[in-house]
């Protein structure tokens, strides 16, 4: 017989089931899919099973053997789902450019020729005589791969299987990743520098002044991206409001470059992300009892000392969670840098978006996402450790 405590627990479990299901479907599952996609590599093997077996025995030295060619032709003659075949070709092409045209040409030749008839692959396309295409195919055969993860940090496995750096001319993920963190960090610092005094003023003010301050900071969240972009153009361009104003008061003679560069990106992102900094600090300040500052004064603290020893430490948790929020959100930005940034201001999300929607290379998109996730998680853990340790001591 079931005890009532057990029944209550089951009922509680039943109540959170929708939430669990939601998390599972919209959070855990996509994340897991992305992680799996970044390390699995079974598509080519699935379509070319015989070639896989033969290539596994090949040591990669010397010219391609007739056995390899024969097994490839056999595999290509097998009826196969066109979607699976497309995935395999896409995978091969990303290993080595050129496989798309090579495979579609070879496949139609193999299907066109009669059953059992031997084919001269080199005659169909001379590229088959080049061992590098076979090597690329061999590399694409294993079920699990670290190539996406390596490529995401500009590494690859060379011919002998050792990890080696990619040519700096062909891949700049590390640099773009670093830049992403740099931009996110600058935006976070700037948001903190503006957001802290802003939140202090908002928390100290009353009535309609406070309402206006809060609305002003929330406004960018309520505005559509297009309107915001238009506003930034009007403000930041060479003949924009800021440059015109500076010229009128005679501070500058040539317009300052404020848009299509890092300055523009940081201004625009700070503008959008400011609420994520101001609101946590502000709500933290509201919970501080009103009599702490008078108490500090009565104990001999001047305004400045009371601010440093009492208000600032108490605003610190809000500042930390605001910074964390801003930093995390900033990491994922890519539309804003695309619109107001220059060539050197693109962030890692734009690379992820290119692989995800531009070329349907979900392995690569997953690997970049995974690395971003890992770095972010590490930062979060560091934050957790920092915020748990005892806060400032008033000495």
């Amino acid at each position: 017989m079931m005890s009532s405590a057990m029944r209550a627990r089951l009922r509680a479990l039943g109540l959170i089931m929708p939430l669990m299901a939601f998390l599972l479907v919209f959070f855990v599952w996509p994340l897991a899919t992305m992680m799996v996609a970044s390390v699995t590599d079974g598509t080519v093997r699935g379509v070319l099973p015989q070639t896989a077996t033969v290539l596994a025995k090949w040591d990669g030295e010397g010219p391609p053997t007739p056995e390899m060619a024969a097994s490839l032709v056999t595999d290509l003659r097998m009826p196969v789902d066109s979607l699976a075949f497309g995935d395999a070709v896409r995978r091969l092409n990303s290993e080595l450019s050129g496989f798309r045209s090579l495979m579609s040409r070879t496949a139609s030749a193999a299907k066109g020729a009669g059953e059992g008839q031997a084919l001269d692959l080199v005659a169909i396309d001379p590229r088959w005589g080049d061992a590098k295409y076979w090597l690329a195919m061999k590399r694409a055969m294993p079920l699990y791969t670290d190539r996406y993860l390596l490529a995401a940090v500009d590494l690859e496995r060379d011919a002998s299987g050792n990890v080696a750096g990619l040519d700096a001319n062909t891949s700049a993920n590390r640099q773009i990743m670093l830049r992403t963190f740099l931009i996110a960090a600058s935006v976070t610092l700037l948001c903190a520098a503006i957001g802290l005094p802003y939140a202090l003023i908002a928390a100290a003010s009353k009535g309609w002044v406070r309402a206006i301050l809060l609305i002003a900071v929330l406004l960018p969240l309520w505005t559509s991206l297009l309107v915001r972009t238009a506003a930034w153009f009007i403000l930041l361009q060479n003949e924009g409001l800021i440059n015109d104003a500076l010229k009128t008061i005679g501070l500058i003679s040539e317009p300052l470059p404020l848009i299509f560069n890092r300055t523009g990106v940081i201004i625009a992102m700070t503008h959008v992300l400011l609420p994520f900094m101001v609101l946590p600090i502000y709500s933290g300040l509201l919970t501080i009892p009103a009599n702490l500052m008078p108490a500090a004064a009565s104990l001999g603290a001047s305004r400045i000392k009371a601010f440093r020893h009492v208000l600032l430490p108490l605003a610190f948790p809000g500042l930390m969670s605001g910074s964390l929020l801003v930093f995390m959100v900033a990491l994922g930005y890519y539309i804003t840098p695309a619109l107001v940034g220059g060539a050197n201001d693109q962030m890692i999300s734009s690379v992820i978006a290119f692989f995800a929607t531009g070329t349907a290379n979900w392995g690569m998109a997953g690997a970049l996402g995974l690395i971003l996730l890992v770095v972010t998680t590490v930062l979060y853990l560091v934050y957790g450790r920092l915020s748990r340790s005892p806060t400032m001591v008033a000495t």
């Binding site: 789902d81 066109s82 979607l83 075949f85 497309g86 995935d87 070709v89 896409r90 092409n93 990303s94 450019s97 050129g98 496989f99 798309r100 045209s101 495979m103 579609s104 700096a168 001319n169 062909t170 891949s171 700049a172 640099q175 773009i176 830049r179 153009f233 361009q237 060479n238 003949e239 848009i259 299509f260 695309a338 619109l339 220059g342 060539a343 050197n344 693109q346 690379v351 290119f354 692989f355 995800a356 929607t357 531009g358 070329t359 349907a360 290379n361 979900w362």
Partner: protein
């Protein structure tokens, strides 16, 4: 609210939900194009008349391209789009990857009624459009750029230049600026030395380039004077000249033209209606109305012939405009876009 009323409200909501679900299972034909004033024109001359003929609503949506988007839709099982207008590489990629239904060319009167590039196993040409050098005729009067060599000449034309972010187009234009003949661009680009040469040429103006992504951006850049010249899409240029009285000029020699095609997504539940729609949009009497609204060329030969001469002169397909123009090599980009984009990003980052 009384209990009875509550119950009836819930009942009505449930009914509405089940109706919505029913509507979703028998989804109306959904056509996806590139948005903006182009799609407005398409709505007027294709979508609405076809809906009338069909006796059912035709839904239209817009997108920004990307084979990954199509891949995601098709792999989900039954896609929620039926007809999509795609660019050359998406046509090629999607066709080899099996994302599209094969075209029923009998419904369209045979492939020979179309320009060769517009008659594909998986797609039917919808428009011919160009990417070219353009500048503001009100700002540059005495000395105007006439070629990619001028585009690269920052001494003669000081100021920033706009280019579409990405290797596509940038590399071709760089080669032409470096003296490669338009006809040889892709031959050179197919060699590793050619690619190095293009990137080296891009180095020269790297610090002077404003990179754009959306088709409306170059117009904004030109209008605000942020750039002295930029690459742009021809339809947008003639459009803004017409609607906002601008005098933006285009340089046809050295332009790259491409064909956008209609495709039908694999396992579309409205496959028959979709094919009928493509036939309707390709019928000469319908297609020939397009240049009135936007200056895109027509892949259907009879439709192209029916365009009035004054409009035809502005189209990428006009004889005079095709001199020294280059056809985009879809096959090249299909093979190389991923690798070259990585390299392009690396180059930008340096």
């Amino acid at each position: 609210m009384t209990l009875k009323r509550t119950i009836s409200t819930i009942g009505a909501a449930g009914l509405a939900l089940s109706l919505a679900a029913g509507a979703a299972s028998a989804r109306d034909l959904t056509v996806v194009s590139w948005g903006g004033n182009y799609q407005d024109a398409q709505k007027k001359i294709y979508f609405e008349p076809f809906a009338q003929k069909l006796g059912k609503p035709v839904l239209d949506e817009s997108w920004d391209g990307g084979i990954g988007v199509i891949a995601a839709k098709v792999k989900a099982g039954e896609p929620n789009w039926d007809v999509v207008q795609v660019e050359t590489e998406e046509l090629e990629l999607g066709c080899t990857d099996g994302f599209y239904e094969k075209i029923d060319w009998d419904k369209l009167g045979g492939k020979d009624k179309f320009l060769a590039a517009g008659a594909h196993d998986c797609g039917v040409g919808a428009i011919v459009w160009s990417t070219m050098l353009s500048y503001d005729g009100d700002k540059l009067k005495d000395s105007v750029p006439t070629s990619w060599v001028d585009f690269w000449d920052t001494g003669k034309f000081p100021g920033k230049r706009g280019l579409r972010r990405g290797p596509k187009y940038s590399l071709e234009f760089a080669l032409m600026a470096d003296g490669v003949k338009p006809a040889d661009v892709y031959t050179v680009l197919r060699t590793p030395e050619g690619i190095d040469r293009a990137f080296k040429k891009l180095d020269e103006i790297k610090k002077d380039v404003v990179w754009w992504e959306a088709g409306a951006q170059p117009l904004q850049l030109l209008a605000s004077g942020e750039v002295v010249m930029t690459t742009a899409y021809n339809g947008r240029i003639s459009g803004i000249n017409k609607t906002e009285g601008k005098h933006f000029k285009v340089v046809w020699p050295g332009s790259i033209y491409a064909i956008d095609s209609w495709v039908v997504l694999r396992n579309s539940p409205n496959k028959n209606d979709a094919m009928d729609f493509i036939a309707f949009a390709s019928a000469p009497e319908n297609q020939s109305k397009l240049p009135e609204y936007i200056a895109y060329g027509l892949p259907q030969k009879e439709a192209a012939a029916a365009v009035p001469a004054n409009l035809a002169a502005d189209l990428p397909t006009a004889e005079a405009n095709l001199v020294d123009a280059v056809a985009l090599d879809g096959a090249f980009w299909v093979d190389n876009v991923e690798e070259l984009t990585s390299r392009f990003n690396a180059w930008l980052a340096q």
